[in-house]
Symmetry: C2
Subunit: 133 residues, 2 copies
């Protein structure tokens, strides 16, 4: 059994192309002995966003703090603490902080996602009014 | 993509032998199209606990609210919001609320856990002072 607090885990900048103002903590993953899936916590600064992309594996997301949106193609779904998102394989998606404070969420992925390709999506849609469906 | 709030998901009583005061919400699972693993939220009332048991699949846990302990065999690890627990396959474990308010945590499991056997553990150890390692 491993027990730790989130803040004991180093926050690393997300350097992936198309992201801005994002940090990630790998809370549980293969290095801890997790056999099937990994739990990461993302922190997105005010105005920040994750890449607009797709891949053939899922995300299971739980919003902890802050306010934002998740884009499903060009549709923005508003997000607040306690919201849950299933991003299915091959869906184009992007998370954006639309609030004034950091947006924190858990994002879980299958372990084999680390070896899989990611497709960047064109930036159409990001000019949509944020928070509007 | 599925987006919903935790409170839109029905809370069901946990009727498993050896549990007390527990409710579960299946936030994301196979019925939603999740291909690999399921996200549940547990709410344990003051004084409540999950069964003391083991199984050959893992739990990945994130504590959202409240105070409690997780037993690893007879060792009680204190828990508070932001704590993360990896329960590895075949480890005897039990979650207990030791606070005055509900304890809420996410607990994720692989999808194939639903078909797997669970072994109840003897109740030795539950007399340990709660919160003490």
């Amino acid at each position: 059994m491993n027990v730790k607090h989130t803040e004991e885990v180093e926050a690393q900048p997300v350097t992936m192309e198309g992201s801005s103002g994002c940090q990630v903590r790998w809370l549980v993953g293969p290095r801890d002995g997790a056999p099937n899936f990994a739990m990461r916590q993302f922190e997105v600064a005010a105005g920040g966003y994750t890449p607009r992309h797709s891949h053939d594996y899922e995300h299971e997301v739980f919003v902890l703090e802050g306010e934002g949106v998740v884009f499903e193609n060009d549709t923005a779904h508003p997000l607040r603490a306690g919201d849950v998102v299933l991003v299915k394989p091959n869906e184009v998606h992007q998370f954006r902080n639309t609030g004034a404070s950091p947006m924190k969420f858990l994002c879980l992925v299958p372990n084999d996602s680390m070896q899989k390709p990611i497709s960047m999506a064109p930036e159409c849609g990001v000019e949509l009014p944020l928070g509007k469906k």
